[in-house]
Amino acid sequence: MNEGDARVPHWARQRERGSFALMKLTAFGLRRLGRRPMTPVLYLIVLYFFVFGRRARRNVRQYQDYLAAWSGRRELRPRLRSVFGQFMAFGDSLLDRLEVWRGSLPLSEVQLHDPSGMCARLLKSAHGGRGEILIGTHLGNLDVCRALAELGEQVPLNVLVHTKHVAHFNRLQNAAGDHQLRLLQVSEMDAALMLELSQRLDQGEWLAIAGDRVPLHDGRRVAVDFLGHPAQFPQGPWLLAGLLRCPVNLMCCLKIDGRYQIHLEPFIDAPEWERSQREALIKSWVQRYANRLAQWCLLAPQQWFNFHAYWQSSDLSQSSGETDAHPRRAAP
């Protein structure tokens, strides 16, 4: 790694601004023109980001490199074409995202892989069960999971987001025609938030949160092996699960051969910890999550939409925060 890495902006600052401008433009175009005439425009926009996004290009290359080495599949090694392909896949997912918001991507076009019958539980909780946690990822298209909302008249789903761009996104979503999604900004976990989330769960609402992005202000993170190299993952979603004593499921939506597949899997039935083992337990959950993520990456190698530097050099990994969540033994 070179000296530039020390100044790498956090993803929340770096990425969302760019993609917001991009999405605003595509949202506008899509609304006015429809998808087909927008596609060449999208190519141009993506090309622009590809040509001038040196850092993002390097990060994508690194991801593809690690994926190929970890899986032993040489054909996945990064080439100019495959790196550009990942940028294009992102552009494509933006178009899909806007269609989802407009409600023009129906559930019938989405394949559901739900071996544990999670959808049934999701529906049931609207009629008096307790909610659960869904952990999503920026592999593939999270927003397509919104199609799940079509399952019932209304599946009570709250999406927890970290960034301050929520207001922007709300505006953008409204512009795109989506008024249903409930976004909750979570910049910090505090007592009031915990109570609110706990009450929502008790009312049968579900919480969705991304498990693969470390928030800007909350330093609680944990480094685990991902594609053969240590990467930082947030502790937040797992702390929530443990604090709220709430079952955890994984959710992932990949576009395969032009069609979306939503994968829903149970992950932790009843999270509970001993204080002294909390940190180790969270790390084991996150490692298991990273392993699952790696397998999903192989299903859709170019849909890893984390364009920021995902693997930090080791000297950055000892940042503050981890010690904060370190359980000390209570005095006897």
């Binding site: 007592a191 009031a192 604090l243 204080r275 904060d324 370190h326 005095a331």
Partner: protein
């Protein structure tokens, strides 16, 4: 006056028990934790995640609200005595 003192003591004991139950400190009993012992850091040794867990339990059990102001929360959560005082005033405020 005496009545107030008794209820506060009872509340302090209740809160100590809540701490023990919530955080699974099974090796302790309510009377083991001095009411003026710091809960965090060098005292009982709780951390920020314990604080969240505790805050959630307090809010549920005593129907109080703990606002997000970090400075205030830190003051209220310093000891069992300060927690009892906080819950006491909050409940009095609600009763009015």
């Amino acid at each position: 006056m005496e009545h107030v003192a008794v209820t506060r003591e009872a509340l302090e004991r209740d809160i100590a028990q809540l701490i023990i139950d919530t955080l699974n400190l099974e090796h302790l009993t309510a009377t083991d934790i001095p009411v003026d012992q710091p809960l965090f850091g060098d005292g009982l040794g709780l951390d920020s995640v314990d604080a969240l867990e505790l805050a959630l339990a307090l809010q549920k059990n005593y129907a109080v609200r703990i606002e997000s102001d970090v400075k205030d929360a830190r003051r209220h959560f310093a000891t069992i005595a300060s927690l009892a005082a906080f819950v006491g005033t909050q409940r009095a405020a609600c009763a009015d």
